[in-house]
Symmetry: C2
Subunit: 430 residues, 2 copies
Amino acid sequence: MAFPFQALPGFRDFAPRDRALCAYLFEAWSRVARLYGFSEYEAPILESAELYLKKSGGELGKQLFRFTDQGGRDVVLRPELTASLARIVGEQQRNYPKPLKWFEIGRCFRYEKPQKGRLREFYQFNADILGEASPAADAELAALAIDVMRELGFRKGEFVVRLSDRAVWQEFCSIKNIAPEQLDAFLQVVDKIERDKPEASDKKFAEFGVTRETVCAYAADPENASPSIQAVLADLNQRGLADFVEIDLSIVRGLAYYSGVVFEIFDTARSMRAIAGGGRYDGLLDILSEGSVDMPATGFAMGDAVIANLIEETPMALGRRQAWEQRQSTCDVYVVIADESNRPDALALVNDLRNGGIRTDFPLTATKINKQFKQADAALARFAIVVGNEFPELKAKNLSSRTETSVPPNADRVEAIRRLLDQPDGPLLT
Amino acid sequence: MAFPFQALPGFRDFAPRDRALCAYLFEAWSRVARLYGFSEYEAPILESAELYLKKSGGELGKQLFRFTDQGGRDVVLRPELTASLARIVGEQQRNYPKPLKWFEIGRCFRYEKPQKGRLREFYQFNADILGEASPAADAELAALAIDVMRELGFRKGEFVVRLSDRAVWQEFCSIKNIAPEQLDAFLQVVDKIERDKPEASDKKFAEFGVTRETVCAYAADPENASPSIQAVLADLNQRGLADFVEIDLSIVRGLAYYSGVVFEIFDTARSMRAIAGGGRYDGLLDILSEGSVDMPATGFAMGDAVIANLIEETPMALGRRQAWEQRQSTCDVYVVIADESNRPDALALVNDLRNGGIRTDFPLTATKINKQFKQADAALARFAIVVGNEFPELKAKNLSSRTETSVPPNADRVEAIRRLLDQPDGPLLT
């Protein structure tokens, strides 16, 4: 009989084994961001609808989880983080040295048709640098994105950062007499050039008085790379990271607020959607703050859905997959209670071990010894510590090698068991 | 000029310094839960309204963030986690050994008047044991709650676990001829006995044919403690934790689904609301699953708002406060670029340090040396590594002692700098 309630469509339940992959991903994001000197912030899940409509308008507006709260406020579950970040930076930037290097790992929500790599509730890692107009900030972010991929086990040749600059298309429009106020609409067509049918693109470009061929030829000519693109490449080259990057001027990003350098990351096989994307949005704080805070800004986001699919489907990442499979161990030692008369001593031992920083589990109620050992194996414990009639002597059974050691009565028991755990012979380390 | 957008009332922005307290709290929750053999799960933020209305009804119904999504679904931002947990356990329990010991740290939402310790968006730590009916499971949870408080720096005498059992009041109602179907309504009055005016309680109890004095006398008599309460106390005594617990039969918890042992934690001065609370809810899975899964269950939750207030206002926790103040360091070393001609070498060094697991920051653009040292201090870096005209020799300046060391050209630079960091003399460790 099926359980009468399920998660809503496009929403996921993370039972502990699913949560382990998530935690592996979040820790990699967080670790690399901190290595790069980024600080973590956190914005509310619910925001005023106006904040996000003002920022993004267009397509995103139709995909919002939007409602009126009990106080009559028009609110949304945030579809992304950038407007919230801009709000917090606008209010609090005086308290922090510049440039700000901030990251958040948080849930975002979009009402769209659930499909592979697209969900209604997903996690996003956002890293942003505010208060620095130089392409050096864009290079720092591209380097961070590359190192996140490497931290997750991906190597050179397995993914690529496609680098571009909207300034290139401003230049193009200026040459082709496309009016500045048409730039956004023109970029929307460029953005969809790979997804649209050629005839559809032809028709759309004709409205701007250019042909699809002209646009593609312009995008394919490396001579058209902007000074900012060259500066980012030179910087990454000095870091030894240039081999991860390609110039691809057809990358323009969908949202209207991007103002300069932009990039997206793809798996080399292009088997999936973009793994990450971002770019410069120098005008956004000025717009959202109605002129009160004007700071240059650049950032990128990586969602959890595409990268998780890639980790699961890519053999190269298998070594790293073991890392999160090992997370399924729920304790280091399992205290076996040989006889219920030993329970008081066992409870005291459990308490000591936990206070000593050792992850410890035990049978809450009277349980046959065989079953206790099965529980210890199921928990992926490394040692079973048997409290039996030899107490205060303990038996420590290595659950991988099935060898047994005695922990003598006079020993500092916690220290003795810690030393056993320090030996790299448990099932988790083979 | 004020920024035109703010967080919604009752919602918080966590800029990095505020986020540090949060991270300190979450890590303590997570660390102690893992020491106790609990596994992390994660449920969606948005759920069908029916799931939570079916579970809680009553008071919670009025406090829901509830709306109709674009697909016409009646949905809520979860007000707590237990119904989501029950749903996930109901669907997936076959895949996990029993008893399940699961925890989540997540956001919850209630539409109520924002005030101290009560917000519209807050974090909750939930720990639950499912599949074990014995009071040993309740004792394991009470011990976990006590050890969380100790991990956060609170000591014996500074907080108390008030332990009770709804079975005590079933017994009372049976003696006093209060019908079983009136039990919930009666417990609502007991629950509010400390907050209501005596006359108001008198009046309410009169409807059940008893007096307030009778109820209070019954609650005050330790002889009325149930066998389950005695078992929990005996268990905690064996762990050396009984001193943290008091029997207080007036604790019954507000929600209708609690079925047995319940407890709440308070600061001893009773200066605040309950810090945590929970208890046994053996019937909930059966109700939510419409009879398809029947598992005994017990759990507790601790929100972030009350405990954060307590940490901030309690001098005893100051030592621990320093721990999260130290988290405001955004890098271990700051690479100072003495002259722009050194930038390529500096960038390569930054990359090597980060790859070596050392948190490293540097000036993204040409910056005066004095200002670079100020940035290094602001980041709470322990060392400034100067890349200057002696390169490949480096100068390492200890930012606490202001002493300088040379890193010779032939050394493994990352290893040499790691050794410097291993010395406990930085500003963060004094």
